[in-house]
Symmetry: C2
Subunit: 443 residues, 2 copies
């Protein structure tokens, strides 16, 4: 019997838990789901005979160590900054560890210890990061094996609302962490064009968005992520002249979001005075330059928009011109915006989300320039069984199975860029409908 511990029972854990339970009987696994919310953990187990729920406050070292000690593999779906607590215990107690989060510097520092103890510590094993690494590495390695010289690597992902559930002028709903959506892009995006570094500061990021065509799906707004240059080494594309990782949104989103950025509403660094007594109308007044006319007219003038433009309609739909109290004490502008959007961009129970991931690669082979567009589109079932939670959770579950089957030889702290990981994981993901379609042409 192999014992699997999954820490965290939230939405992003559901598909991973389900995968593990579904494979538990045949493979003789026992699955423990631990959470501070015992009831939620119990719901996830749903009285499965090979599973049980456990209450765990991960900040309590003894409880944590005790629980980890009784398992063989740990999947941590905790908030990112808490993984390190679990990781140190896993080193001490000699347990494998899998997470879907970005690997921190602190975590990488455990690499030697993990390797010395023959432990597999795999991070970034979800969707983005996760499936993006695996699908990109498969493509890049195939091209390199063929002898191709890669000149362009662009990779896009978007967590969107499926068109059939799209019923608002922003064409967007929250399908993942709302706070991260509000703060997305802050800092400066760095990428490369024609062998030159390019920098786009946050204040221009959404204004200077570009358009990406997804075959059979249409056009999307795209803006570069901050981290486009981060994976050059690990992907083996150090000298590549064009590299960009970006985020996809429905057309029109970026221009309207830029209006909120321009106003200053996405800043989370200071509290608004008297927020409790303030209306949204007053908040807009506090950010708009002085001038004649109504707040709405001043907004249109500030943005250089007609009063009934698409952007103005989006702002109006959010209720930003309404004389309604915000009812939030000591809130930053970003928190006020998040609070408003939580209501406006809420998934209805039957809403389906949609994930789009697309890689655009160009390479030279035998004197010709080739292009591959590789796209994956997946829709969720409803607001519980989202494409997002499946695509985060399935790679974790599949990877746990690979560890137990002894198919993983790479020890230490890693992200899934090696063939022994991505080949079987992508293969099994296909059974769950995670299919990348390739469109090739010669330019």
């Amino acid at each position: 019997m192999k014992n699997i511990l999954i820490i965290g029972a939230g939405r992003s854990a559901s598909a991973c838990i389900r995968y593990c339970l579904d494979h538990a009987k045949a493979n003789q696994w026992f699955v423990t789901v631990a959470d501070t919310n015992l009831e939620l953990a119990q719901q996830r187990i749903n009285q499965h005979s090979n599973g049980k729920a456990a209450w765990l406050d991960v900040q309590k070292p003894n409880d944590r160590k005790d629980l980890i000690g009784r398992h063989d593999i740990v999947v941590s779906l905790l908030p990112a900054h808490l993984h390190i607590l679990v990781a140190r215990d896993c080193i001490q107690l000699k347990k494998h560890l899998v997470t879907a989060s970005y690997v921190s510097k602190e975590m990488y520092r455990l690499g030697d210890e993990a390797r010395d103890a023959n432990l597999i510590f795999m991070g970034e094993m979800g969707l983005d990061p996760g499936i993006d690494h695996m699908s990109a590495m498969k493509l890049l390695n195939e091209i390199r094996e063929e002898g191709g010289k890669i000149t362009t690597f662009k990779s896009y992902a978007g967590g969107l609302i499926a068109p059939e559930s799209d019923d608002n002028p922003w064409h967007y709903k929250f399908t993942w962490n709302p706070r991260n959506v509000v703060l997305a892009g802050q800092g400066t995006a760095q990428y490369m064009v024609d062998g030159k570094y390019k920098y786009t500061p946050y204040s221009r990021l959404f204004k200077e968005h570009h358009v990406v065509h997804v075959p059979d799906m249409g056009d999307y707004d795209a803006y570069p992520n901050r981290d486009s240059l981060l994976y050059r080494e690990v992907y083996g594309v150090e000298g590549i002249p064009n590299i960009l990782r970006g985020t996809l949104r429905f057309r029109g989103f970026c221009k309207a979001w830029h209006a909120l950025v321009q106003l200053g509403l996405t800043d989370g660094s200071y509290p608004i005075h008297d927020a409790e007594q303030m209306t949204y109308h007053e908040l807009m007044n506090a950010y708009l330059p002085e001038g004649a006319g109504s707040v709405k007219e001043r907004m249109a003038r500030f943005l250089g928009e007609n009063i009934d433009s698409d952007v103005m309609n989006k702002l109006e739909w959010l209720g930003l011109f309404r004389k309604v109290k915000m009812n939030l004490s000591t809130a930053t502008p970003a928190l006020i915006l998040e609070h408003l959007l939580l209501d406006k961009w809420k998934l209805s129970p039957e809403d389906k989300d949609m994930i789009i991931m697309q890689h655009e690669i160009e390479y030279e082979l035998k004197g010709k320039t080739h292009q591959i567009i590789s796209s994956m589109v997946m829709k969720g079932e409803d607001s519980n069984d989202t494409a997002m939670s499946r695509l985060v959770g399935l790679p974790l579950g599949i990877f746990v199975k690979l560890i137990i089957e002894g198919k993983i030889t790479t020890t230490g702290v890693n992200i899934p860029v090696m063939s022994e990981v991505y080949t079987p994981v992508l293969q099994e993901l296909e059974k769950f409908g995670v299919v990348f379609t390739e469109y090739k042409k010669i330019l």
Copy 2:
């Protein structure tokens, strides 16, 4: 004999040292100037019989305590974050402390201990902060004593180049900390207009500058500081409907500086890749959106300027379109800009700086609205004897004299907003030409 210790011998210390030495013989003072640069400290003392230079590395606790222990009053002109080391020693060794820096929260926490030990810890005793507090409090208290109800308080200051030394298209040279000039305004400016809070984020701060008229001097660009609301309580103007503290620049500065902000060149949070090999021309290319034409043409298009506009001429004069290597390794954009400006905006030996400070106050009295404009203009002698160093140093020196004369009764950690401080300090400053001229009218 009273022993005064001045820690720091840099430019901002010179006028304070000179003041203390000039008053040393008559008052039986002995002045020690301590610095890590002993030679500089010796130059400041200039073989004065009532002074001596001392070598001090303020990070060495024993040396520091030993030196402080042998004096009665300490003036700290160290970088702001180091004052606290000196302050803790002053508590322990029972010495008074005077600084020209903003009082940190850490420093305020020493307030009770200082008061219990009958010690005077005075911060913000320079120009801005310093003379701004004192001259504003004098005006505000005079109006309140008269029975006036203050409705508007605006306070501006600018460290500028004197018109006779102004020989560049920016009409600006560095007369104080260049790094602070490059990073000025980052964050969100908060102020009040007609009883409403107003917020202007950094990305719009220089674009949305306003114009301030200084009597006999003309018009200046002005932008609100981040801290306009900070002194409401201590100034006793909590309920005031209009409050703004701002910075003055020559006309045209703000629009051109906004171009640098918009590009992203004032960001100090990440390093530029390959900065060592890069030219300014390539740096501009890295920040400009893709497009046709030369870098200069693309810049003009990006900014919505004609190619030969005032803003474009300012950028051209900085050399931003030149194919000249920047010669800086691992530098942030802000550091690259600072490095370039240090050369371009350098004071020549004979250059005179100019300080302008102006308060604009409106108040209701006997059914009428009164306005007072109170302005102070001071020019330096040359690049060594700057108005800036005088206006920072003289209040410190004068305040030291007041302490020794026993004229200060307010103990604890304070800033100079009480009459027993500002009345005699402003009075003596007048002898040094620091004169506020008042223009009153009924609106």
